[in-house]
């Protein structure tokens, strides 16, 4: 009989300190930082104005298969 009581007591104790630990951690989690989804660039609270003008796009080279950076560099030198 006493063995059963001791076993039950310590098992209950074990379950208690683990579950209370989770409870304590959950309730003491720090509040969230500003939500990154809403503020992808970290611009919240600020003001900005960024304008591009006269954008011209022209091909540097004729289309080609590319795998390495070197090809691109040699092309620039041409």
């Amino acid at each position: 009989m006493p063995t059963v009581i001791i076993c039950s007591l310590f098992l209950a104790f074990f379950a208690a300190f683990v579950s209370v630990y989770f409870l304590a951690k959950l309730t003491s989690a720090p509040s969230d930082k500003k939500n990154d989804e809403e503020d992808e660039f970290g611009l919240a609270g600020s003001e900005f104005d960024c304008k591009f003008k006269n954008i011209r796009i022209h091909s540097r080279v004729s289309d080609f298969y590319i795998k390495t950076k070197e090809e691109k560099n040699t092309d620039n030198k041409r």
Binding site: F14, F41, C50
Partner: protein, 543 residues
């Protein structure tokens, strides 16, 4: 002190009306129109009283002499030394718009669920100590100005034979202006707290007049602006790249992507940055926690609150006691089912649960390690090492995506196998099969547990703040003792029972360690004097 033009009484900035109000004759004044007699001479500096705390070294300015008996940063009652000082005027100020009552309201909202926080965190008499402090911030103004940039656009098609890429030269002109990307410039106010109460809305800024400070505190510590300079530049460059991508990828070029490194963007867009000093409103409260302090901050403009929330050990123990009583009934029921073999079943369950605890320990330490790195303050880091600290944003992201941490390493994988093994084994044991496996299997799993505990311990010694925490070693010791018991007397019920109890206690001490470490992370060392070992004042002043 700012004097009333009508009666000479002390006039103080009133948050609700946004004016300086005289308590004696109720007259009110606009802050722009109030000056001290000797103030108007100098445009760049203003005269004020600076109080310095002898305990922690924090300096704060205030017009009011009541400031001289209590230090908010280290939460100690002490006589602060005061001196008259000429301080450089900040460019602008965002005045307080949230009153103390509103701020307490917001604070109570975020601590409503924090039932394990020390009870002083909820006492009204403590909450009355909220101090209104103007924190120095750097407001970065980033400009991009180039009449002829040249960046590369890429168009890529994936085909069966390989991928085809076309390169384009994208030219044009850019005019960009970014204002109000702000970083706190106080050594006393750590980055993690300031990020948690961000943002401040720069739209409501006002030109600075010293009279705004009447009735408030203002922090004087001063992190150089270059400490955070790279961040606004990076933000501006990323935004510009995004905008350019949107502008360029049109019509026949709709698949064009613009890839730009930060340095390339700075060069091509001619990105420059200028820092302006500003004062932002923060409600501030501190609690003494052992030799450290816990801070509560509330954004004085928006009311966003952030608090350090340590766990009260006392509350934790009481809750454990109560929960033990609750769990006792089902667990007693379980053991009555195995009346004869209770100690052996008990041992099996303890081994299973302890494996769980040591795995939990490992993951919790790992997670807290990330929080620890994340809470590094760039200002303090700069003062200590003289090097600009660049935060690893990726680490922050991995914290958000909780499961990424678990996926990555091999140890984790190994541990999964051990756990699954223990599960299978423990179930066979509960149903009386494992008696046939006898001692050998049991030993294997005890040793497995020891390995888990040691892995956790190795993980924990890499942490900065855990040098005093050896709870998990008690866990290891209890397992070793159990091993000996099992070797010598594994068929004696009482011996096995004792072994199980040892494991239980070892696990409890291990979990207590996690709580103490949580508390270590949710409290701070008072600003200047970091008490570590014997060296108290000397080296911190030389820092």
């Amino acid at each position: 002190m700012f004097a009333c033009k009508n009666c000479g009484g002390n006039i103080i900035y009133d948050i609700k009306s946004g004016k300086l109000v005289c308590k004696h004759c109720q007259s009110s004044f606009d802050p722009e129109n109030v000056t001290k007699e000797n103030d108007s001479v100098d445009y760049d500096y203003f005269e004020t009283t600076v109080f310095t705390c002898p305990q922690c070294g924090a300096a704060i300015m205030c017009e009011d002499n009541e400031a001289s008996s209590f230090c908010t940063y280290c939460s100690s009652s002490t006589v602060l030394t005061s001196r008259i000082s000429k301080e450089k005027k900040p460019s602008y100020i965002i005045p307080f718009t949230k009153t103390k009552a509103e701020c307490i309201e917001e604070y109570k909202k975020i601590t409503k669920k924090a039932i394990f926080a020390p009870s002083e965190f909820r006492k009204d008499s403590q909450l009355d100590k909220f101090k209104a402090i103007y924190m120095p911030y750097w407001c970065y103004e980033v400009t991009q100005d180039s009449n002829m940039f040249d960046v590369t656009g890429t168009e890529r098609y994936d085909e069966q034979t390989g991928s085809m890429s076309s390169f384009y030269s994208i030219n044009g002109m850019v005019r960009g202006k970014f204002t109000g990307i702000c970083k706190d410039a106080s050594y006393n106010f750590s980055d993690d707290l300031s990020e948690r109460i961000a943002p401040f809305h720069i739209k409501e800024k006002k030109k600075f007049y010293p009279s705004y400070l009447s009735g408030f505190y203002a922090d004087v510590s001063d992190v150089p602006s270059k400490v955070y300079e790279h961040e606004p530049i990076k933000i501006a460059n990323e935004v510009a790249r995004e905008v350019l991508q949107g502008e360029a990828a049109r019509g026949e070029f709709s698949n064009v992507k613009v890839y730009l490194s930060n340095d390339q963007a700075t060069e091509q867009f001619n990105t420059t940055v200028e820092a302006k000093k500003a004062l932002f409103p923060v409600w501030f409260l501190s609690f003494k926690q052992n030799k450290k302090v816990a801070y509560v901050t509330v954004n004085g403009q928006t009311g966003k609150a952030a608090s350090d929330l340590p766990v009260s050990i006392m509350k934790y123990l009481i809750a454990v006691l109560l929960a033990t009583l609750v769990f006792f009934v089902p667990s007693a029921y379980l053991f009555f089912l195995f009346w004869e073999r209770a100690p052996f079943v008990f041992m099996d369950l303890m081994l299973l649960l302890s494996a769980f605890v040591f795995v939990l320990y490992y993951f919790e330490i790992k997670r807290m390690q990330i929080i620890e790195t994340d809470s590094e303050d760039a200002g303090k880091f700069y003062r200590k090492y003289g090097v600009v600290y660049i935060k690893n944003k990726e680490k922050h992201k991995s914290l958000k995506n909780f499961y990424n941490i678990y996926k990555t390493d091999i140890i984790t994988f190994a541990m999964y196998i051990v756990i699954v093994g223990i599960y299978i084994w423990s179930f066979t044991s509960v149903f009386g099969i494992s008696d046939y496996f006898s001692l050998i299997t049991k030993m294997i799993f005890i040793v497995g547990n020891i390995v888990l505990a040691l892995i956790g311990f190795i993980r924990s010694i890499s942490l900065k703040n855990t040098s005093n925490f050896y709870g998990i070693l008690v866990g290891v010791a209890s397992l070793v003792i159990t091993t000996l018991i099992m070797l010598l007397a594994y068929s004696y019920a009482y011996a096995v029972l004792a072994g199980g109890v040892f494991i239980c206690i070892g696990c409890f001490v291990t979990v207590m360690d996690l709580i103490r470490y949580h508390n270590e992370l949710s409290t701070r060392k008072p600003p200047y004097l970091k008490k570590r070992g014997g060296d108290v004042i000397a080296d911190s002043y030389n820092m």
